[in-house]
């Protein structure tokens, strides 16, 4: 039987960089990302896995990093909003569409929303409006009323 250790070392790849940290088992992945790695673009908006502000990609899939223990992400590859654009000084296609369509206001939900839209476009490259509204159902935005987010995603579908 393995011994119950107080602290665990986790090693993971984040935005292409290999990092490790020593964590308590209770530490949430979102706190590892924000506090230990200083990547504060991933936000905490709730405590019941409803809002999606903490959405990141774990091994290529959008997940809510507030509902994953850091120890459970050991060995994973993670992409956060900071790693979305291949060129740090430029916006990628999803980010550009958000800008063009005024799909953000306060910006707090935006990083999580962008991560979810990436998943949506992978799953439904030809998404219609229903697919889009369904696909971002895991992210709450309180500012935009979603209208312009839907327009932004539609523009990405239309381009394909």
């Amino acid at each position: 039987m393995s011994e119950v250790e107080k602290r665990h070392v986790v090693t993971l790849e984040i935005n292409g960089v290999r990092r490790n940290a020593e964590v308590e088992p209770r530490k949430l992945l979102v706190h590892l990302i924000r506090e230990d790695f200083g990547l504060t673009g991933t936000h905490v908006g709730c405590d019941t896995s409803q809002c999606g502000a903490c959405t990141v990609e774990l091994d290529g899939q959008a997940i809510k990093s507030c509902t994953v223990l850091a120890v459970m992400a050991d060995g994973a590859s993670i992409t956060t909003i900071e790693g979305v654009s291949p060129v740090a000084s430029r916006l990628d296609a999803v980010q550009t569409a958000f800008h063009e369509h005024h799909a953000l206001q306060c910006g707090f939900c935006t990083p999580g929303m962008v991560m979810s839209v990436r998943q949506l476009l992978r799953d439904h490259p030809d998404a219609n409006e229903d697919d889009i509204r369904h696909g971002i159902a895991g992210n709450i935005c309180r500012c935009t009323g979603y209208h312009n987010i839907v327009r932004a995603v539609e523009s990405l579908v239309a381009k394909d």
Partner: protein, 284 residues
């Protein structure tokens, strides 16, 4: 937002997990997807001493399909069930149900085993596995056993699982030719859980009901099987009248839950409406 402190180990095998559970059944919780457990820990509504991570247990992973039966490992995520073409070729109800569970991010982590074993009265899979006449593979200190899904759910968050037992897999028989399944769900606007969910299976032969099954979730303290309605419709033709009567029987099968959002009367009415609509669409 931050759980109380706990220990964490990765189970090396199913036997290892069972052994850990046996040592301290009260203080030990299994974690896989974690999508019910972790929010509960964050709100400090539970404070286990030890979490046992079971994601590495190979026996509990994957979907295997042969010409007679299907085995779904308990660790299979909602997203995997949604994406499996092979599974959905046989049972399209998996995709139909999975797309109605929570949201994409939750579906990428949450597992069917967690949904069933946790026995949230408003979880979706319990209704579906009942309607599919699934058998649940349970492994414990003394070996394994299989329990029909409709006998698995006992009460709110309570199942037939003994303290050191683990739900390892879901077993399904391939459906008879012509059998069709549907899941209808009214979602709670905040939680996304089922206010009521009704899964119905139906096979007609020569214009008469030859096979039928109904699983209901959300309505009562635990998911249940609409046996009275099934008995009523068996060997009968489907008509508006018979469907109405069957739907009524399902809605009267149990005492419905009442909460701040929805009354027992409303839930009972939804069970009836959704059962009716499910049968009408299967009959069409």
């Amino acid at each position: 937002m931050i759980p109380s402190a706990f220990g964490y180990v990765r189970a090396s095998s199913l036997a290892n997990a069972i052994d850990l559970l046996r040592q301290d059944p009260e203080g030990t919780r299994l974690v896989a997807g974690g999508h019910t457990l972790i929010p509960t820990l964050k709100l400090r509504l539970a404070s286990p001493a030890l979490l046992v991570d079971i994601r590495g247990i190979a026996d509990m992973r994957g979907i295997s399909i042969d010409d007679k039966a299907i085995r779904i490992g308990a660790l299979t995520t909602h997203a995997e069930l949604l994406a499996s073409q092979q599974l959905n070729d046989v049972f399209p109800i998996f995709r139909q149900t999975a797309t109605r569970i929570a949201d994409p991010q939750v579906r990428n982590r949450g597992t069917i085993g967690g949904s069933i074993a946790n026995a949230d009265p408003a979880a979706d899979w319990p209704a579906v596995v009942i309607a599919l006449n699934a058998e649940l593979e349970i492994v414990g200190p003394t070996g394994s056993r299989r329990v029909p899904a409709k006998d698995f759910f006992v009460d709110i968050f309570t199942t037939v699982l003994e303290p050191a037992e683990v739900l390892a897999a879901i077993h399904l028989r391939r459906p008879t030719l012509g059998a069709r399944f549907i899941y209808r769900k009214i979602r709670h606007p905040a939680s996304g859980y089922a206010v009521v969910g009704v899964a119905v299976g139906l096979r007609m032969e020569d214009g008469l009901v030859a096979e039928m099954s109904i699983g209901v979730t959300g309505a009562a303290s635990h998911a249940f099987s609409g046996d009275a309605a099934t008995r009523f419709l068996m060997a009968k033709p489907l008509s508006h009248e018979s469907i109405e009567e069957a739907a009524k029987l399902v809605s009267e099968a149990t005492e419905c839950l009442s909460d701040r959002y929805a009354s027992a009367e409303y839930r009972a009415s939804l069970v009836r409406t959704e059962t009716k609509r499910a049968l009408l669409s299967l009959a069409a």
